[in-house]
């Protein structure tokens, strides 16, 4: 990679985008409050375009090819989503405008809430959380407040399976609660026996990911929900893996009480190189009063009134709300994209997306299962976990396989997660990949398994064909060069 930083392209005196001349008289400036220097780049618009275009070309992305990053649901992002979110009447509305002037936006939010309710079976939805982890924090705070509201102040214990995402325990700790880790059993389910010891008056509930991070549907799910409910606890569903289940099963019906959705996973909104996400939270009726304020409601009476009189869709603050979790109403433009997607799929399309996600995962697994060790041998859901190690290639690790995949021009799977599988490779092809693309990926994985035996150094030293070779993470963490410094470079 030879692309310089934008600062290194800077030429003193060069100007970028121009602004109109000032059309009002100047006022006096508060001299003692002014800054002496504004050390921003001095580049032209052409410099900017070329620099960021060249940077973009150093990235891998879904628009380039298969991106089977387990747990991340890197499905194709329909282009109509982008067109919809950029409609001037959506981009151009201020969040504090009179509700009567934003009825189109409120209609969309209300109907997205309805769509998510239909897909999940929950009774109420808040669209405010900004991302999956943010939705989790919201859900955990709701669980906590529900118990407090009932006077059960002694409840402080959250059960979390050992296969869970790190955000689960972190969200729980942030909420001031105690985390107890529950092991998985030999089939990859939550160990029911291990849970029993905690079925008491201190139980807040359990956070469960289903399908779990092994890509397996938890065969004990119904029993877990029953057990926790009998002990007075609540069941949190981590919706990160909803892509396997939409149209197949409604989480609320099996006993999940609160769940976040990842619009940026399940509902095709792009990941944006790390964000923005959107993590709406759905709850059963008894938790609806605790949702973050506000949510969008439809005024039934207003429907008959003249249009200009009273708004049909309005914001409503649930009476026992945990409070707002971010400013304004949530990631609106992400909501537009998810709404557009669901609107195009309908019942049938939603179910098909889940079915083909599961079909692709099982098919890919069937192609490589004889070569890559499979710790839990079951029909998987939308993803699966194999081990990135071979008995006859002892020096090769999951990381080497991941980096070698880069040489073949595809994206590696998630590696070293879940923590309960050593050398884990977690693979989620998603439904939008064709059989040919999945076959290509399988062929590459098989070829790499061969190379691991015949030429392990090829893997150890990979990637060979990338903008940079393997990067020194220890150097980065010890040197802590976290910003560009003019004086040192």
């Amino acid at each position: 990679m030879t692309e310089p930083l934008i600062f290194e392209l800077s030429i003193p005196g060069r100007k970028g985008v121009r602004l109109p001349e000032l059309d009002v008289p100047e006022s006096e400036l508060p001299a003692d409050l002014l800054r002496d220097d504004l050390p921003l780049p001095e580049v032209s618009e052409v410099d900017v375009v070329r620099h960021y275009l060249r940077l973009s070309q150093l990235n891998y992305a879904v628009d380039k090819g298969i991106y089977p990053l387990g747990s991340c649901t890197m499905k194709y992002n329909p282009k109509i989503n982008e067109v919809a979110a950029r409609l001037p009447g959506f981009v151009g509305i201020h969040p504090l405008q009179d509700e009567l002037t934003v009825q189109g936006a409120l209609y969309l939010m209300y109907h997205l809430q309805e769509q998510l309710k239909a897909i999940s079976g929950f009774d109420a939805i808040s669209l405010q959380p900004a991302a999956g982890a943010h939705g989790e924090l919201t859900g955990v705070l709701i669980m906590r407040k529900y118990h407090l509201d009932r006077g059960e102040t002694q409840r402080d214990t959250m059960l979390i399976p050992d296969s869970a995402h790190g955000t689960n325990p972190a969200s729980t700790s942030m909420s001031g609660l105690r985390v107890v880790e529950i092991p998985s059993d030999a089939r990859g389910n939550v160990d029911l026996e291990a849970m029993k010891a905690y079925m008491n008056e201190r139980l807040i509930g359990i956070m469960i990911t289903n399908p779990n991070t092994l890509g397996l549907f938890d065969e004990n799910l119904e029993a877990i929900c029953q057990m926790v409910h009998e002990a007075g606890g609540l069941v949190y569903g981590d919706g990160a893996n909803m892509n396997a289940l939409m149209g197949i099963m409604r989480p609320a019906e099996i006993g999940i009480d609160v769940m976040h959705f990842n619009l940026h996973k399940t509902f095709s909104t792009p990941h944006g190189g790390g964000g923005p996400g959107s993590g709406p939270v759905g709850v059963v009726a008894k938790l609806a009063d605790f949702l973050p304020a506000p949510i969008v409601v439809k005024e039934v009476d207003a429907e008959e009134e003249a249009e200009e009189e009273a708004p049909l869709y309005t914001f409503y603050d649930p009476p026992k709300s945990i409070g707002r979790v971010k400013s304004f109403w949530g990631h609106f433009s992400v909501m537009i994209k998810a709404y557009t997607y669901i609107r195009m799929l309908g019942d049938e399309g939603v179910r098909r997306a889940a079915e083909y996600a599961v079909l692709n995962a099982n098919y890919l697994l069937s192609r490589i299962r004889d070569v890559y060790p499979l710790p839990y041998d079951r029909i998987c859901k939308h993803e699966f976990v194999v081990e990135g190690r071979f008995e006859d290639a002892p020096g090769v690790r999951a990381l080497d396989i991941a980096k070698r995949l880069i040489d073949y021009g595809v994206h590696p799977p998630t590696n070293y997660f879940p923590l309960i599988v050593h050398e884990a490779l977690m693979i989620e092809p998603t439904e939008t990949e064709s059989k040919q693309e999945v076959d290509r990926y399988a062929d590459i994985l098989l070829k790499i398994a061969e190379e691991a035996k015949t030429d392990p150094d090829l893997l150890h030293e990979a990637p060979h064909n990338a903008p940079v070779r393997r990067l020194d993470e220890v150097y980065a963490a010890r040197q802590k060069i976290l910003r560009y410094r003019r004086d040192q470079q």
Partner: protein, 130 residues
């Protein structure tokens, strides 16, 4: 792998060594090897109380963060401030310059409850067998 005969040990791979009426605490050579390149060490402050068996700090590599458990109870009287800029000392000299904290023990007798170098060697051998 080095085991300092002057130290006593825990199963969780901390060492403790008497230094006059204080006890110096660190992590073992085996622990630093297992963690690989250490990039940050989070330590308590002088004056903090630590409790035997409970976590008092964290050592971090680029891929992992591990709790450090107190071999004895007592008051922290010194922390190794050098580690702030040079956490790699824990890798290069775990029993020496890579020490973590010095403690005034509540009960000096607690030292005797810790593993002897010979017993600790067995603990490590057993872990390595897995």
């Amino acid at each position: 792998m080095k085991i300092d005969p002057q130290c006593r040990y825990t199963k969780s791979h901390e060492w403790a060594r008497k230094e006059d009426d204080l006890i110096v605490i660190g992590i073992t050579d085996y622990a630093q090897q297992t963690l690989s390149d250490i990039v940050y060490v989070e330590l308590p402050e002088e004056g903090d109380e630590i409790t035997k068996g409970e976590a008092f700090g964290v050592v971090e590599s680029v891929k992992a963060a591990s709790d450090i458990y107190a071999p004895v109870s007592g008051e922290v009287v010194a922390v190794n401030e050098k580690l702030e800029d040079e956490p790699e000392l824990v890798n290069s000299d775990p029993f020496g310059e890579g020490w973590l904290i010095k403690v005034r023990p509540d009960d000096a007798g607690e030292m005797d409850e810790l593993l002897t170098p010979e017993d600790y060697e067995k603990v490590v051998a057993e872990e390595e067998a897995h």
